[in-house]
Assembly symmetry: C3
Homo-oligomer: 140 residues x 3
């Protein structure tokens, strides 16, 4: 049984979705695990993870806009305002999406559906370097 | 250590929740894993997973209605409209719920609470055949 | 390969977030797993899990208030009202957050980010004893 982990750094440039399917696949493919479980974990509370359609870029645009409406940058709504108007909405957006995702590995590949891509969902306005931990357990 | 996977197909008939606890349990029970981790992964971005109360059917009805109000079928809100008025709301509903669920297996059974059921949450209006991957790692 | 599970009981006193990072860490640290995957699973549908910032208490206050606005206690909105005005909103809040969380264990510790804390998110008004299952798989 193999049991491996890896750090991935993702540079973001403001609110929105950043696809990370390719670097994750590349790491998984190198590990020679034929069957197992891959876990993706983001070490932040103002950025998160999601799986979304990676065919039409309008999908990720609309998704980001939906969250802007749902958790608006309106300081009258929040007590936690010291880190800027986008910070508390960022925590809310993170709570509504995912901090962690696990994907079965079957026949040596992540068992993603045809249109599924893995994304870092950035919820802050400024650029950030985000830290993602990958963990893989399984057998060759 | 055992490391197994399985495909489940779930036929849906429009928006709403479809319980899949029984077929998952049946597969887990056949594997002779006494202790481990079961992962349920749905290979779609317009249907998702959730754990909800399986006692009163009004709960899943109200849950579906809540999401209809939260992400309405109003094309003025979205750019991505080419796949129909229910498609972008479906992606939003999927992002707000789960693509993957992991459940510990203890004493040979999924450690679900008394009222917990595992559901496929269909977000499209038409009937679909949905694909769910099960993965189980553990020992007998 | 080690494969372990444990039950944690969490006493809540009404809606809000209750940090459980310390008891989880204590259990993980005792298991002598250097590298692996920890899973946290809550056995309820009216309480859930989330990872949030544990530095400023206003963050968890604002998060709870956001969910009060999003899923209000208004019986005209729901069919499922027999368990009280806070019950259906509780199921909705649980569906929007997490029933399960998996965190990689690296160098013998959970790979949480600097500000990340693990919380039980109570969605009912009265006090409850909540049941959380921990599962750890990995190697020493």
């Amino acid at each position: 049984m193999l049991n491996l982990s890896h750090h991935l750094h993702v540079d973001t440039r403001g609110k929105g979705l950043y696809e990370i399917t390719a670097p994750i696949s590349q790491w998984v493919n190198k590990q020679e695990v034929r069957s197992g479980l891959l876990t993706v974990f983001i070490q932040h509370t103002s950025a998160s993870l999601t799986i979304q359609e990676n065919a039409d870029p309008d999908v990720v645009h609309d998704l980001n806009q939906f969250f802007n409406r749902l958790a608006p940058e309106d300081e009258r709504l929040y007590r936690h305002t010291v880190e800027g108007p986008d910070d508390m909405p960022a925590h809310i957006r993170a709570a509504l999406t995912l901090t962690q995702l696990s994907i079965p590995v079957v026949h040596g590949r992540m068992a993603l559906g045809t249109w599924q891509g893995v994304y870092v969902f950035e919820h802050r306005s400024r650029a950030h370097r985000r830290s993602v931990v990958l963990h893989l357990i399984g057998e060759s």
